[in-house]
Symmetry: C2
Subunit: 316 residues, 2 copies
């Protein structure tokens, strides 16, 4: 199985990292919402700086009918835009494999509601900052984990082939028979780091892992993560990695940079920009799972409501 | 007992409301921190608008040695400045009665550590907005509750006399043998409204009492207030009023104004201005009481740490 033509839907920071890298080893088309974004990409291509350094030519458009038939579609929108993305390709590209790469739970099922493509479930630990419509800075070159979304009957060999494509393009990748343990580890990690950052206006600094004084945020992070772990256990998911250790390691990595450096989680960036956040797909999906499974998660519920309240302040 | 000379320490919104009103019925001196604040008050007096309309002449200074001997001292600083205020008058004004009017718990004991004045414990439900150093707008003309701080041996008659002075000045007042039930009701009310407002950037809008959708802030407010009530019960305090009903009534009062109106709680104003908040004296004092009494308060702890985290973001 080979991939000559790949379509990436959405060109935020993760989408742009996919476009730039995959554009080195395949013909890449990009589906975006803004015509001026498409025009800029068609004119200048996509430049990656940081951990990788190159510019890839791409074909961009706002209408899937204007794009070549792909063998692989990567839906790299935010979680709340997956529905619209899947709708846009409904009835098209019947021979393609579709890969989701969102935070949170449930994107695969949303896609499956709009077509019977084989679906690859993935979760990424890489990060970047979109500097402009045609330039993304590649920060953490950590792996993307991918596996078959079993209800769609995806063959494991197809996932391996996609994994090889990603690896050849310069992205780090792990192919697994079941991606849920990694997906849930990242979910619980994100469901704690993102809301705490958004509510405190703090990037992911060392205070998030400190538990010395009673007021230290590490206590809150630890308690939040404990709630998430209880939900995972009740859902029968064995975590790939302890989210508390992910949190501790991430802030230590930040500290090895100069003092000014600390990752700005996407939910904090959204709140600062007055944009809708992914709260319903991250902490919200955990709270819903907890309710379904009868697991009490008082702190998660509190933070979920605070972030929803914070969003409702935008128009005040 | 009569009060010809009253000294107010601190001229924020509550202090200014006291200065303006009491200045109509007594000689009022004001102790402030900034020389230019004192100079402005000495030159222009203090103007109250809104529920009351007048200007009172005052004598203001930054050094208690420059002020006349008072029979009553009202410490109207923020909770975290009570220690400095009490220290400033240590060894002075031995014949005066000292009244505290802070949010939270414990101001009386701080004052008692610096002198053996009879102390009046009070809690106020009035509110105002400080428009300038010499002008306060009087918004809610609700009562101030006062009673003896028993460990200091304050005679109930003294509290009655101070209550009469307040009433004569145009302020609403209730004199009680024990102010703790009202103080705790307001503590629990403040310990929920203020952190939720500070973290969501929302003034005290109707959403704070709404419990329709799962994400509505009313659920969070209700749960937080429940934790506070359990702490009060464990401390043997019977509340004067249910803080949840205080919350519901306050947002309804807001709604009778035009849509734009909603009270900006002081902690939200502090966070917006990048100033230290009273969190340690409001929600923090509840969390400490809960720990002392062995009452689990997971949501209160979470919000306490979030606000402390928010404060630590100021210098980032």
């Amino acid at each position: 199985m080979s991939f000559e033509s790949v379509c990436v839907i959405g060109a935020g920071s993760i989408g742009s990292l996919c476009v730039g890298h995959l554009g080195q080893v395949a013909n890449v088309s990009v589906l975006v919402r803004r015509p001026e974004h498409a025009a800029a990409l068609n004119e200048k291509g996509l430049t990656v700086s940081g951990k990788s350094e190159f510019t890839s030519k791409v074909v961009a458009g706002t209408d899937p009918a204007s794009l070549p038939d792909p063998e692989l579609i990567v839906i790299a929108t935010k979680a709340m835009q997956v529905e619209a993305a899947a709708k846009a390709i409904e009835g098209r590209f019947g021979d393609a494999i579709v890969m989701t790469i969102q935070n949170g739970l449930g994107s695969e099922a949303v896609v499956a509601g709009h077509g019977d493509w084989p679906i690859i479930s993935s979760v990424t630990f890489m990060s970047g900052t979109k500097e402009s419509d045609t330039h993304v800075h590649y920060e953490l070159d950590t792996a993307t984990w991918m596996g078959p979304f079993h209800p769609s009957g995806t063959a494991f060999e197809s996932v391996q082939a996609v994994g090889e494509l990603f690896a050849k393009s310069g992205l780090k990748v792990e192919v697994l028979p079941d991606v849920r343990p990694a997906q849930w580890s990242k979910l619980i990690f994100n469901a704690s780091v993102n809301p705490v950052a958004a509510l405190t206006d703090l990037p992911h600094v060392q205070l998030f892992a400190r538990r010395e004084q009673e007021s230290d945020l590490g206590h809150l992070m630890y308690d939040l993560i404990e709630e998430g772990k209880q939900v995972a256990a009740a859902a029968g998911v064995e975590l790939f990695e302890d989210p508390w250790e992910m949190n501790s390691r991430a802030v230590q990595q930040g500290a090895t940079h100069d003092d000014e450096y600390a990752h700005v989680p996407s939910m904090l960036a959204d709140v600062r920009a007055g944009l809708p956040t992914e709260i319903d797909f991250i902490l919200g999906s955990l709270v819903r799972e907890a309710a379904r499974l009868g697991v009490p998660v008082p702190i998660s519920e509190a933070l979920y409501r605070l972030v929803k309240g914070r969003e409702s302040s935008y128009d005040k």
